[in-house]
């Protein structure tokens, strides 16, 4: 590439990059901007392009008015439960898939992948029937159980990829030193894959945090709604000011943004190690 030919090309690259970054950021910015707008501006005089930062102090009050904290607490409960349950099962499964030979292993791997094909909307019907029998309707723990079925395979993939990368010799030498297999898992493997476990934890946590379909179907009383359902309920009605809805959406979104940015590298390597053969 000569410098002469490079220059117009570089400008195109920068323009494209600016456009795609704007595209990615705008809806989040608009959420923020709308949260700081007055209803009269939104529907009559027009929304300003620049945010009214001086109205930031109003946000806590409007969040309290819709009990945003209660909604987020329910989301956090579902998310935490899903994370713990998923990671406990996924750690064992990932270790088994990575380090053991056994009959049906190929099938187990396929089974885990096949779960990605099943629509939640299909399982919601029979799960509804199952949960009625088990008394898990209108119960946050029921949502944890349902969501874990979808999140745990993903956590397993992320951790299996991480364990595959650890040289077996490390465990082998521990074994020679008399360390039992389960000790190798907990003392050697787990510490080495902690960053990937953290990534798996973030992914499963926000699966539970974001989950909408099961919650919308299984939860009937408003005080048990997670934020996803609460927000969707605001959408259809005009009683809640739009700025309040957007402020709630924003506090619902921010934790996800922050945590995903922290662990993004690990998620990427987990996602890609399997998909990219290079």
């Amino acid at each position: 590439m000569s410098t002469i030919r490079r220059k117009p090309g570089q400008i195109v690259v920068w323009v494209l990059l600016a456009l795609v970054t704007l595209f990615a950021a705008f809806p989040i910015y608009w959420m923020f901007n709308t949260a700081l707008s007055l209803t009269s501006e939104l529907y009559a005089t027009g929304q300003d392009l620049w945010p009214h930062l001086e109205r930031l102090p109003r946000i806590p009050g409007s969040l309290a008015a819709v009990n945003a904290l209660g909604l987020l607490r329910n989301s956090a409960f579902i998310a935490t439960g899903t994370t713990i349950l998923s990671l406990v099962m996924a750690t064992g499964a990932a270790y088994a898939l990575s380090r053991f030979k056994f009959h049906g292993k190929g099938f187990a791997g396929f089974f885990l992948f096949a779960t990605q094909m099943l629509p939640q909307a299909l399982l919601v019907v029979p799960l509804f029937a199952l949960f009625v029998t088990l008394g898990l309707i209108n119960n946050l723990s029921g949502l944890v159980l349902a969501q874990t079925a979808f999140s745990m395979p993903v956590a397993t993939f992320i951790m299996k990829t991480a364990i595959d990368k650890i040289p077996y010799e490390i465990e082998e030498s521990a074994r020679v030193d008399g360390c039992p297999q389960l000790g190798q898992l907990s003392l050697i493997v787990v510490p080495l894959i902690l960053p990937s476990m953290a990534a798996a934890a973030v992914v499963t946590f926000f699966d539970g945090w974001n989950e909408f379909l099961f919650a919308n179907t299984f939860i009937s009383s408003a005080e048990k709604w997670p934020a996803s359902v609460g927000l969707a309920q605001f959408m259809g009605q005009y009683a809640t000011p739009l700025s309040t809805v957007m402020a709630t959406a924003l506090v619902f979104t921010l934790p996800a943004l922050i945590f995903f940015l922290i662990v993004q590298r690990r998620i990427i390597s987990g996602i890609t190690a399997g998909a990219v053969k290079g």
Partner: protein, 320 residues
């Protein structure tokens, strides 16, 4: 739609390469029962919360069960399937699913790959730009849908104000049958293209530097380097991403449900939206399950097709 994350190739191909070669392999076989013990909880869990419900779903699809009395359906054989295959509404739903899936797959792969190529070189602020590009991926779907509903608002939304500057519109982005599908696809592509970008970025980093060097020596410009060297190198990854995007698009629910609910005039009434409507609005659980099964058949067909294509491509690449 939950997490968009799966590692396909490996989970399917089974074990890591080094395993057979390892001298400890035969010793590990003795500890086989511990392997079962470790994987058993996960497998049992999936049997209880996925396989049995799925089986129940298959059963339901052969009954006329209704939501009001889920235990009281009676066996109707293939009636539900027969009805669906002869119903214009079902085929409209199938068409909507295929249009939606095709559009999301194509546009998210183009945009995601382009973006990956754009940020695959060191420049100032690269970390910050990449962080911003990940925003959509991290945003909860419900929050994303909410802000898009406002952006698409017919009278006050920023979308119509923007095209209004060019003297166009206003357009009913979510209410006009001509634009409903576009609006849903646009919002979905926003949400999922960063995933494609991430995967492509990793694939790009595995392109050997010597290849770029060779292209530079040959005097190739940026575009022909991309076409001649980078793109062929990315193709295996693009195929896997296309499979994932397809499967996930076929089953995607929330963003469509919250933006249009399947409207306007059923233009975005994909199979999954149709399942939900049949089950919880029409209260026909049996019919809903039958639609779901046909949706699973569609996903399976795509997956099998993918592996056939993949095997052929791999064979060709091995020959070349």
């Amino acid at each position: 739609m939950g997490t968009d994350t799966t590692r396909v190739a490996e989970s399917i191909s089974g074990e890591p390469r080094d395993e057979q070669a390892s001298p400890a392999a035969h010793r590990r076989r003795r500890r086989l029962s511990l392997g079962y013990l470790l994987i058993a909880p996960a497998m049992l869990y999936l049997v209880v919360f996925m396989l049995i419900p799925l089986y129940r779903g298959v059963q339901l699809s052969f009954t006329d069960t209704r939501l009001v009395s889920p235990a009281a359906g009676s066996y109707v054989g293939f009636d539900n399937y027969q009805f669906l295959l002869g119903s214009a509404r079902f085929w409209n739903s199938m068409t909507a699913t295929i249009i939606y899936t095709g559009a999301v797959v194509v546009f998210s792969i183009i945009l995601g790959t382009l973006t990956a190529v754009l940020i695959n070189r060191p420049f100032r602020l690269r970390g910050g730009v990449r962080a911003i590009l990940l925003f959509p991926y991290a945003t909860p779907t419900v929050a994303a849908a909410l802000v898009f509903v406002w952006i698409y608002n017919r009278s006050s939304g920023v979308m119509n104000e923007t095209i209004g500057l060019a003297g166009l519109g206003p357009v009913g982005w979510l209410g006009d049958p001509r634009y409903g599908m576009f609006s849903v696809v646009f919002a979905t592509v926003w949400k999922v293209f960063p995933f494609v970008m991430l995967v492509m970025l990793a694939a790009l980093q595995s392109v050997p530097d010597e290849l770029y060097e060779a292209a530079r020596v040959d005097g190739a410009d940026g575009l022909s380097t991309f076409r001649g060297i980078v793109l062929p190198h990315l193709m295996p990854t693009i195929r896997v991403v296309a499979l994932l995007m397809t499967i996930w698009s076929i089953r995607r629910f929330e963003i469509i449900y919250l933006l249009t609910g399947g409207g306007p005039v059923e233009r975005t009434n994909t199979l999954v939206i149709n399942i939900y409507q049949q089950a919880f609005q029409q209260q026909r659980l049996g019919m809903a399950a039958a639609i779901g099964m046909l949706g699973v058949v569609l996903s399976l067909a795509v997956t099998v097709g993918f592996f056939v294509v993949e095997r052929r491509a791999a064979a060709q690449e091995a020959q070349a």
